[in-house]
């Protein structure tokens, strides 16, 4: 049947949504319609166009909503569900504006042949960007006269979103829409996907973190029945009919490598300093590398008292339980990859560049991911699977092992942070000089009213392969800043809560600190209590911690204000999880390596937070309906390390300035 008779396409002009990182693909409608029909069945497809505010950019096309004859509305999104509650939130967004019950809404996550480019699933942007985009599209459909029963519609020029006070679905704790699939084991992840006729691949890992493949000898491996050895540039691998045979063949594949040594672990911080570049300000960047106010040089000169200290953070691993996997399938010069990536458009471009094909020839069908935390922003596994598949001319599945994850993935950057403060006669901080080496510029901004400040991010040569991580550098930067504020408070004989409040003008930040102190039972001079606060991605939060010996966290209280709360229970779940994940990096997580290779290659060698580590945790939400919500998946992780370091100082009188604060390496249970 001719697809055009099955779909009516409606176009609407809307306010711009502001995902601006990657240009969307231009034309792919022929492919799209065919795939859409397969995916969604017959119905009316709503194409929502959004233009840049200055209208200089060409019109962007996004297929956003599909209405089936049954009245079920499917929201199309280029984002991915990584456990953050994307499906549930977008269901709420569409149901709210369409005046539908949530049961009438489905969410189709990223399939690049079908869904719009919503940018990567990163940086807590689903709530501030994708939710508004979906709400606008749904509201346009509603205003255009959409009725689930009659399917009448006309095109609307502008839209009015439902006022927060009138919300019926948003702002409520709609349970996770995938819940039943999850508890029955039916939910599919990357590793559960199968394709007819697929073969199984394995890739040879180098003995050294930095190694170039010189020579591969596949003669022994190729003697195993049905095995093909693949050599392509830097990659050597095998493909077989089943996973076990591929593993067997891989053991027989021999190679020579040219290895470049790593600095010893103890030398990493010195190396980062030694190779650092001066901070470079780039206009319009999301995380500016230089933030400057007043004159920090003058402030230092005129200071009555100065304090300086250096803070560090080691490399840590994301360890999403779901290891990367990909199934690649070539049809001539067209490539389809089933995978689990947080950044489909980035990976698509990586694949297009690697195989020298147009980006529109690459289709990514993205599965649910058994969590991301920033680990899936690059297409390592997808590239390998595509190379293997191209060589053998059949679909190839490549499923990484846990060891592959540690050997060929990337880590949260190590950090060195220098902080210097100048105090005036009233003991107030009037100068703030802050330098992050290697880990990044997010979380550089100081939430305190300080007249003179310089915050800079210095790029360095990272010994280990590094990349994104939940909240990026904000963990290291907030650890340094909040530890330092605590040090200065103690130096001046002040109470850490009072001292912070003296420097806070933002009323929402004041509120979470004050309300948190009351709720926690904060007492001046009481042993074992610590506090930290921040403005992270526009959310205001304060964390209070209590510790006891032997290095045990007794309780954590988080006060959190991200504006309007779209789903309170999901937000609490996210924040509690971020606190627990934060405890790992704060207390004991660290990637060990020698001069050759990463040594933490298994979970028995890399300790993660477990039930036995659990403190009492309380999360208090400040719901501000009138304030547009910011994202919240990441911010909660940023305060754990400083609150614990500060509590430890209060308990022991000992200042710890390096993450992890305590045991590194081997699990201790």
């Amino acid at each position: 049947m001719d697809i055009k008779t099955r779909y009516k396409i409606e176009t609407m002009d809307l306010e711009p949504d502001r995902f601006e990182i990657f240009a969307p693909s231009a034309h792919q409608f022929e492919w799209t319609r065919r795939e859409l029909l397969a995916l969604l069945g017959a119905g009316v497809l709503y194409v929502v166009s959004a233009q840049d505010a200055d209208a200089q950019q060409p019109e962007r096309i996004g297929l956003r909503l599909h209405v089936a004859p049954t009245g079920v509305v499917t929201v199309l999104t280029g984002k991915v569900d990584i456990g953050q509650g994307l499906r549930t939130l977008l269901t709420q967004a569409a149901a709210e504006e369409l005046r539908l019950t949530p049961e009438k809404v489905r969410v189709q996550t990223c399939d690049t042949a079908v869904t719009p480019d919503d940018g990567g699933t990163w940086a807590s942007l689903t709530t501030p960007q994708t939710v508004p985009a979906v709400r606008m599209a749904a509201a346009a459909l509603r205003e255009a006269g959409f009725h689930a029963e009659s399917m009448q519609r006309t095109v609307a020029a502008s839209v009015t979103l439902t006022a927060p006070k009138d919300w019926k679905v948003l702002g409520t704790s709609l349970p996770p829409v995938s819940g039943r699939d999850i508890v029955t084991g039916r939910q599919k992840y990357g590793a559960d996907v199968r394709v007819e006729g697929m073969l199984h691949g394995k890739v040879l890992r180098a003995p050294s973190h930095h190694a170039a493949l010189v020579k591969a000898d596949g003669s022994a491996a190729e003697k195993v029945t049905g095995v093909r050895v693949v050599r392509n540039g830097t990659l050597a691998g095998v493909v077989a009919g089943d996973d076990r045979t591929a593993s067997e063949a891989l053991r027989l594949l021999k190679a020579e490598w040219k290895e470049t040594p790593l600095p010893a672990q103890a030398e990493v911080f010195a190396h980062l300093r030694k190779t650092a570049e001066a901070p470079v300000f780039v206009r319009g960047s999301r995380y500016p590398a230089v933030l400057e106010q007043g004159s920090v040089v003058e402030a230092m000169k005129g200071a009555v008292r100065r304090h300086e200290a250096t803070y560090t953070a080691e490399y840590i691993a994301h360890v999403a339980l779901d290891c990367r996997s990909a199934i690649a399938e070539w049809d001539g010069d067209k490539l389809t990859v089933h995978c689990g990536t947080q950044a489909p458009q980035v990976v698509r471009r990586e694949l297009a560049e690697a195989f020298r094909i147009p980006v529109n020839n690459v289709r990514l069908i993205v599965s649910n991911i058994g969590a991301g935390f920033g680990s899936r922003h690059r297409g390592e596994c997808e590239l390998e699977a595509a190379a293997l598949a191209r060589a053998v001319g059949k679909p190839v599945r490549l499923a990484w092992s846990r060891e592959d994850e540690f050997l060929a993935g990337y880590f949260r950057p190590a950090a060195v942070v220098d902080v210097k403060t100048a105090l005036d006669a009233s003991q107030r901080v009037v100068g703030w000089d802050f330098h992050n080496y290697n880990s990044g510029a997010s979380g550089l901004a100081v939430p305190y009213a300080i007249a003179n400040s310089y915050c800079g991010f210095h790029k360095s040569d990272s010994p280990l392969r590094q990349g994104s991580y939940r909240s990026l550098a904000a963990v290291a930067n907030t650890f340094a800043r909040e530890s330092h504020m605590d040090e200065v408070a103690h130096l001046t004989g002040s109470d850490p809560v009072e001292y912070r409040l003296r420097h806070i003008e933002d009323t929402r930040l004041r509120h979470v600190v004050e309300a948190g102190a009351r709720r926690f039972g904060w007492e001046k001079g009481r042993r074992g209590m610590g506090v930290a606060c921040t403005i992270e991605k526009d959310a205001r939060l304060a964390l209070f911690a209590e510790v006891e010996e032997p290095i045990r966290v007794r309780r954590l209280l988080l006060l959190f204000d991200c504006g309007a709360v779209l789903n309170p229970d999901n937000l609490r779940n996210q924040l509690t999880g971020a606190l627990i994940q934060g405890m790992g990096g704060a207390l004991f997580e660290s990637v060990r390596h020698d001069r050759r290779q990463v040594l933490s290659l298994r979970l028995s060698r890399y300790r993660l937070p477990r039930m036995a580590d659990l403190p009492e945790i309380e999360v208090q939400l400040v719901d501000r309906r009138e304030v547009a919500p910011t994202g919240a998946g990441e911010a909660g992780i940023t305060l754990v390390a400083p609150a614990l370091a500060n509590a430890w100082f209060s308990f022991k009188g000992e200042r710890r300035r390096g993450l992890p604060l305590f045991t590194a390496g081997e699990p201790k249970r």
């Binding site: 569900d81 990584i82 456990g83 953050q84 509650g85 349970p175 996770p176 995938s178 819940g179 039943r180 699939d181 999850i182 508890v183 029955t184 084991g185 039916r186 939910q187 599919k188 992840y189 590793a191 559960d192 089943d242 996973d243 076990r244 593993s247 067997e248 360890v319 999403a320 339980l321 779901d322 290891c323 649910n368 991911i369 058994g370 969590a371 935390f373 499923a399 092992s401 846990r402 229970d569 999901n570 779940n573 996210q574 509690t576 999880g577 971020a578 606190l579 627990i580 994940q581 298994r602 979970l603 028995s604 993660l608 937070p609 477990r610 039930m611 036995a612 659990l614 945790i617 249970r669």
Partner: protein, 156 residues
């Protein structure tokens, strides 16, 4: 080496191929298309692959396939009966005791093994028993609550 043997999976007799290097997890996922049990670490550290063998929690990534010959294996897919959720599943759902859900099948089966042995466990017992399972999203407090709810030991 690749010998078919029989095993009872979720109450049904199944024929599986066992052999050198084939684990119970491989059998479930690749031969029986039961993908609820997950690979997470391959060394019994994370518990995502937990299933029951003769009613006891077993790390299926470490169990050789031949070790279950003639035995009863239960997986997450067998918990639901005629469309009715098992009390643990209902409790996990009620408490939203998951985020990405990847570890959930393993936690459910580990908790089920505990409740069969100790129908009314103390909270400390739940934590101890489930300490071998990792939830990287950090939903531990909800998991403890859900297991208590399923066991009918209520809230603290």
């Amino acid at each position: 080496m690749n010998n078919p043997v029989s095993v009872v999976v979720n109450g049904a007799k199944r024929s599986i191929v066992v052999g050198q290097g084939i684990t119970l997890l491989d059998v479930l996922r690749d031969q029986l298309d039961l993908t609820g049990a997950k690979y997470g670490c391959g060394e019994g550290q994370c518990g995502a692959c937990t299933v029951l063998v003769e009613g006891k929690a077993v790390r299926s990534c470490l169990a050789a396939a031949e070790s279950v010959a003639g035995k009863k294996v239960e997986t997450v897919e067998g918990l639901e009966r005629e469309g009715r959720l098992h009390p643990l599943q209902a409790a996990f759902l009620e408490k939203s005791a998951f985020q990405c859900g990847y570890c959930t099948p393993g936690f459910l089966m580990a908790a089920e093994a505990l409740l069969r042995r100790v129908p009314k466990p103390a909270e400390a017992e739940i934590r101890r028993e489930l300490n071998g399972n990792i939830c990287r999203c950090g939903t531990y407090p909800r998991i403890v609550e859900a297991v208590r709810m399923a066991a009918g030991v209520g809230k603290r």
